[in-house]
C-alpha cells in the first residue's frame, strides 16, 4: 500500500513536471480523458503510433536535408507540416514549437537555420520520448499494484 501510494504520487509528480517543463500541453490531457474501459491503454497506444509516424517523418526529413546545397524547401516544409500535425496530436509542445521554427527557416530559405533547428528538434523529440516511456512504465506499475491492492 505504502509503496503503491508512493508510486502513485511519483506518477503524478512526473506528469506534472512534463507539463511544467513545457513538454506537453493540454492535448495530452484530452487523450487521457478519452481513455476508458473500452480503451484502457488509449494514451499509450496513441503515443506509440506517434513514435512510429514521427520516426518515418524524421528519416524522410533527414534524407531531404542530405542534399546539402540543393535543398528542396517545399518538400521540407511539407514534411515538417506533417510532423507538426502529428506532434499536435499528442500535445508535444516543445517539439511542435521546434517544428514551426524549422518551417520559418524553410520559408526564409535559410539552410543553416534549418539544420540547426532540425538538430534541436531531434533532441527535443528524443528527450520527450524518453520521459514518456518512463512515465508509462511507472503508470503501468501503478496500475498493476492498484489492481493487486484491489484484488486483496
Amino acid at each position: 500500500m505504502e509503496k503503491n501510494n508512493h508510486s502513485h504520487r511519483q506518477l503524478v509528480i512526473m506528469k506534472q513536471s512534463l507539463f511544467d517543463q513545457g513538454l506537453l500541453d493540454e492535448q495530452f490531457i484530452q487523450l487521457e480523458e478519452l481513455q476508458d474501459e473500452a480503451n484502457p491503454n488509449f494514451v499509450e497506444e496513441i503515443v506509440t503510433l506517434y513514435y512510429r509516424d514521427s520516426l518515418r517523418l524524421i528519416s524522410s526529413i533527414e534524407q531531404a536535408l542530405k542534399e546539402r546545397n540543393m535543398l528542396d524547401f517545399n518538400k521540407l516544409d511539407t514534411l515538417m507540416h506533417q510532423f507538426t500535425g502529428s506532434s499536435s496530436s499528442i500535445g508535444a509542445k516543445k517539439v511542435k514549437a521546434e517544428c514551426n521554427l524549422f518551417r520559418e527557416y524553410c520559408s526564409a530559405v535559410n539552410i543553416e537555420g534549418c539544420m540547426k533547428s532540425f538538430h534541436q528538434l531531434k533532441k527535443e523529440y528524443a528527450s520527450l520520448k524518453k520521459k514518456l516511456e518512463a512515465y508509462f512504465q511507472l503508470a503501468r506499475q501503478v496500475g498493476l499494484s492498484e489492481a493487486e491492492c484491489h484484488s486483496k
Binding site: Q30, L34, Q82
Partner: protein, 558 residues
C-alpha cells in the same frame, strides 16, 4: 447534446450520425475515431482521399458527414471537398494544423461547412451534427418549396409554421435560422426518420454533370429551365426536381465566380450604382429589410438594374449583404428586395425602387431565369462554367453600366438572372401571406408600364422591349415612396413572418440563389448562411396579384 428541442428526432439523433473521417495522419485518425465514438457517432476512417471517395460513391447515402484533413498526399483536401459537394452533396468539415485566414477562407469558398484547427477538442466534434441537420432542413425546405410552388400548399404550412415560431431552439441556430427551423419542423420528422429525406439523393457524377452542362449550353443559359434541361439530358431516372436543384447550385456557383470576377473589377460596378440610384431615385423604399440579411437578398433583387443595386448592396448592406459585390450579375437576377433608392446605407443592398427592379428584371438576360432549387451553394462544385462565367461576368459589368446594354442580354445570358425570375413564383405564394402589404405594392406596381409579358421574368422575348420599358420605368417617377412603408412592412413580414415566405415554393431557386448571392463569397460555401426565409422576401409585392399567374408562367421557364 440536447435534443430536447427536436420535435421528432430520428430516435436519438444525433447519435448514430455516420461520419467519414479522412486523414493521412494515423495518430489523428485514431484520436478522432475515439472522440467521435465517444460522441456516439458511427465512425469510418480512411487515410486516403481516393479511398474516401470510393467509399462515398459505393455507399451513396451511407454517410451523413465527412471530416477531412486539408493536406493529404494523394489529393488536395479542397479537391476532395469539391468532389464530395458536387457528387454527394454532403456537409464537409475541413481540419488542419494550419489556421491561416487564407486557408480557412479557401476552405469556406470551396464549400466547407466548417474548418477546425488541430489540435481538435472533443467538444468541437460534439456539435458537428448541426451541419447535417441544417443541410437537411434546407433540402427539405427546398423540396417543399418547390412542391408548394406548384401546389401552393406551402402557404398552409407557412402559416402553421410561423405560429410555431422558433420551436427549435437549437442552440447554435441564430434567429434567422429559427425561422427556418419552424419550417423544418415537420420536415425534420420526415428527413430525420430516414437518412434519405423526401427526395432521393442524386449523385451528380462528373458524367451526369457534363450532360447537364451540355444541355444548359444547348438551351441557352438565359432560356434554361429544369424541364428543358431534363428533356435534353435524356436521363430517365432523373427527376425535374433533381435537375432544378442542381441548376440552382450551378447558378450559384456561376454567380460566385462572377462575383469573384466582379470583385476584382468591382470598381466598375460600384460606380454605376450611383447612377441608377439617381435615376431611379424616385423609389425610396426603405430597406427595412436591410437590417436583416434577408434584406441583402432583397437588395440583390433590386439590382436588376445592376448598377443601382450593386451599389447599394455593395456599399451598404454589408451587414445584410455579405455579398455586396455581387450586384452586377446578381442584381439582375435577384432584384428581390426593394431597395430604396435612398437606401442610405442600410439597405445598400436593397435595390431601390421597384422600378429598378422591374426593369432590371427585364434586362436580366433570359438566362437569369434559372431555377435553382438548392439553396446551398457549393462554389467549389466543379462546374465547368468557368470560362462561361467569365464571359458572363464581363457582360454583366456592362450591364450594370447601362441599361441599354442590357438589351444585348443574349450575350449575358449566362448571367444569373435567376434571381429575378425566381422571385416571381414566390409572389404567388407570398400573396397569401402578405396580401395587405402587397396590395399597396400592387398599386404601385400597376404604375409600372411593364406588362406581365414585359417583365423580365419572361425574359425571352422581351429583352428588347424590356430595355425600353426599363427606361420608361426609370424615368417614371415611381411613387413608391408611398409604398415604401408598405414594402417595408411587407418585407418585414417576409423576413419574419416568413416561414411561409421562406417556403417560397416558387422560386426556391431564385431565392436560394439570392440568398447565396447576398452572402457574398464567404458565405457561399456555408449553407448555414443561407436562410431561405430571407429569400422569401422576394419582391413578390412587386407584382400585381393579377399578374402573378402570368408572371409565373413567364418566369417559370421550366
Amino acid at each position: 447534446m440536447d435534443n430536447g428541442c427536436f420535435s421528432t428526432p430520428r430516435r436519438d439523433f444525433p447519435a448514430g450520425l455516420r461520419v467519414l473521417v479522412v486523414d493521412d495522419d494515423p495518430t489523428w485518425l485514431k484520436i478522432l475515431e475515439k472522440m467521435l465514438k465517444k460522441c456516439n457517432y458511427e465512425v469510418t476512417t480512411c487515410c486516403l482521399a481516393r479511398q474516401a471517395l470510393n467509399l462515398l460513391r459505393e455507399r451513396k447515402d451511407g454517410y451523413d458527414i465527412v471530416i477531412s484533413d486539408v493536406n493529404m498526399p494523394d489529393m488536395d483536401g479542397f479537391k476532395l471537398l469539391e468532389h464530395v459537394g458536387l457528387e454527394m452533396d454532403l456537409p464537409v468539415i475541413m481540419m488542419s494544423v494550419d489556421g491561416e485566414t487564407s486557408r480557412v477562407m479557401k476552405g469556406v469558398q470551396h464549400g466547407a461547412c466548417d474548418y477546425l484547427l488541430k489540435p481538435i477538442r472533443m467538444k468541437e466534434l460534439r456539435n458537428i451534427w448541426q451541419h447535417v441537420f441544417r443541410k437537411r432542413i434546407h433540402e427539405v425546405r427546398e423540396f417543399e418549396n418547390f412542391e408548394s410552388f406548384e401546389s401552393m400548399h406551402l402557404m398552409r404550412n407557412g402559416s402553421d409554421l410561423s405560429e410555431e415560431g422558433n420551436m427549435f431552439a437549437l442552440e447554435d441556430m441564430t434567429s434567422s435560422k429559427k425561422r427556418k427551423d419552424v419550417d423544418g419542423k415537420h420536415d425534420d420528422r420526415e428527413f430525420l426518420d430516414s437518412s434519405s429525406s423526401k427526395k432521393a439523393r442524386v449523385v451528380w457524377s462528373v458524367d451526369l454533370h457534363q450532360k447537364f452542362v451540355k444541355a444548359v449550353n444547348q438551351i441557352g443559359f438565359d432560356k434554361v429551365g429544369p424541364k428543358k434541361i431534363l428533356d435534353l439530358m435524356n436521363v430517365p431516372w432523373l427527376s425535374r426536381e433533381n435537375v432544378a436543384s442542381h441548376l440552382q447550385k450551378y447558378r450559384l456557383y456561376l454567380s460566385r465566380l462572377q462575383k469573384d470576377n466582379e470583385q476584382k473589377s468591382s470598381s466598375s460596378g460600384m460606380k454605376h450604382s450611383d447612377l441608377p440610384l439617381k435615376d431611379v431615385g424616385s423609389f425610396g423604399f426603405q430597406n427595412s429589410a436591410d437590417k436583416q440579411q434577408n434584406d441583402a437578398s432583397i437588395d440583390r433583387y433590386n439590382y436588376s438594374e445592376g448598377t443601382l443595386q450593386h451599389q447599394n448592396m455593395e456599399t451598404k448592406s454589408h451587414e445584410s449583404n455579405p455579398k455586396g459585390t455581387v450586384p452586377h450579375s446578381i442584381t439582375a437576377e435577384k432584384v428581390k428586395a426593394f431597395v430604396p433608392l435612398e437606401s442610405e446605407g442600410k439597405n445598400a443592398t436593397f435595390q431601390s425602387t421597384m422600378s429598378t427592379t422591374q426593369y432590371s428584371w427585364t434586362e436580366i438576360p433570359k438566362t437569369q431565369l434559372k431555377k435553382e432549387q438548392k439553396p446551398i451553394v457549393h462554389p467549389e462544385d466543379n462546374f465547368n462554367l468557368l470560362p462561361l462565367h467569365g464571359k458572363q461576368h464581363n457582360i454583366q459589368v456592362d450591364q450594370s453600366q447601362s441599361i441599354a446594354s442590357i438589351s444585348s442580354t443574349p450575350s449575358i445570358a449566362e448571367q444569373d438572372v435567376a434571381g429575378c425570375i425566381e422571385t416571381k413564383p414566390r409572389f404567388a405564394d407570398y400573396k397569401k401571406d402578405y396580401t395587405s402589404s402587397v396590395s399597396s405594392i400592387r398599386s404601385s406596381v400597376d404604375t409600372f408600364p411593364f406588362q406581365p409579358g414585359n417583365l423580365m421574368m419572361n425574359y425571352q422575348p422581351s429583352q428588347q422591349a424590356i430595355s425600353t420599358t426599363n427606361l420608361g420605368v426609370k424615368t417614371q417617377s415611381y411613387n413608391n415612396l408611398s409604398c415604401i412603408s408598405d414594402l417595408e412592412s411587407y418585407q418585414r413580414n417576409l423576413l419574419f413572418g416568413g416561414e411561409a415566405a421562406s417556403a417560397a415554393p416558387l422560386d426556391e431557386d431564385l431565392y436560394f440563389y439570392w440568398h447565396n448571392m447576398n452572402f457574398g463569397q464567404q458565405s457561399i460555401g456555408m449553407p448555414e448562411y443561407y436562410d431561405p426565409g430571407l429569400l422569401t422576401e422576394v419582391p413578390n409585392h412587386l407584382y400585381d396579384s393579377t399578374d402573378y399567374s402570368v408572371i409565373d408562367q413567364g418566369l417559370f421557364i421550366a
